[in-house]
Symmetry: C2
Amino acid sequence: MPYTYTYPRPALTVDAVVFGFDEGALKILLIQRAHPPFEGRWAFPGGFVHVDETLDQAVRRELEEETGASRIYLEQLYSFGALDRDPRERVVSVAYYALVRLSDYRIRAATDARAARWFPAAHTPRLAFDHAEILKVARGRLRGKVRYQPVGFELLPEKFTLTEIQHLYEAVLESELDKRNFRRKLLAMGLLAELNEYQTGVRHRAARLYRFDRRRYQELTRRGFDFEL
Amino acid sequence: MPYTYTYPRPALTVDAVVFGFDEGALKILLIQRAHPPFEGRWAFPGGFVHVDETLDQAVRRELEEETGASRIYLEQLYSFGALDRDPRERVVSVAYYALVRLSDYRIRAATDARAARWFPAAHTPRLAFDHAEILKVARGRLRGKVRYQPVGFELLPEKFTLTEIQHLYEAVLESELDKRNFRRKLLAMGLLAELNEYQTGVRHRAARLYRFDRRRYQELTRRGFDFEL
DNA sequence: CCAAAAGTGTTTCACGTACACCCATGC
DNA sequence: GCATGGGTGTACGTGAAACACTTTTGG
């Protein structure tokens, strides 16, 4: 059933830069394209926005379809509208970035058998479309965000060690941090609940586990508290 | 000549929140709608994105058409995609915000005789569509931006006094600032060129005029300098 | 006992913040 | 001469940054 308009319309898509954190490095989820254009190249999960769904709904649908992931942190990034970003026709894409707990579940490949894989954010294969630019914007945004909003925890397992979160910050900020200063400042905010549990399976002294205290954060935020690291 | 697609497509528009600064207050430019829906209500300048123009080009074209303003500071804000934001059909809008030197030129009404007027950003009439929400996002973004990027100068005349820029910051941040501390910090950055010119036409001691030194800013930025107020 | 990472305090310095009075000018 | 805003300096306290050694555990 065709749809007709008085003036030509750009196609509208959404794309998602999905970040994960694993083995001390920031990762992103890519899907290998099975068809032209850019056949064989890697690209972000994404697709067309249906007329009866919001932009957010469109991204969540695509992520669910292509990765099986739901209930993830999602934020709109930027809309890309260069004329030649898709060689087939005019396509405007609203890009999002997502943060997932890589530890919680392994991303499964989509049903249509396209390969889905995690790559280090710093070393990806050549990307399709303008996705290299989108990635750059996404990394910059995450770098900014992580400093004044407690979004880093979205990338960590429920229980984590202070060293793990420090490594996460170092990966996102692309700089080394001082262990003592980092811990002092983080703990001083009072957002971490100290657990009576410790790492297991390590061949050195086991580190204490912590949990991010969401309620406490909301409480403090209501009182005008500003997260800042 | 009609255009036909296999699947229905949302319409794509751009809208611009145009900020100005005058009489010590932050202003925004609104246009009174001449036709339904929301006939008579005020709204941001904006319109459909043509298939052969980028998003930025679309905003600039609309601003030029509706206000006569070109060469203004422009930045993409957010894309709004709620299902019912336009009662006629599904419309996704990419919102921008713009900063103009209200002092440089008076905005003229559009050729089609719709009224264009400046309103205090804090006290607007009821807005059409979801423009009240867009305005809220725009003000928040400007508030954040102004603290770590020297965009405030886009709103001021070429030559300005320290008190003027302080009032601008107070209007944007919605808080009072200490005169001595503000001046010290601003001058310490070395981004202002002190002119040997003074205010005229005031009935008190005339204040010295300054100019924002763009070259200096670019030079410092290249060396890793971070603007912060 | 060795390797590996956990955990812990103090000093220094820069910067943010609070605060009040005299000066220059136009009318 | 008076009203109006312009212009200026200091003291204090907080927080960022730099920095090294002991402890615990598993193998």
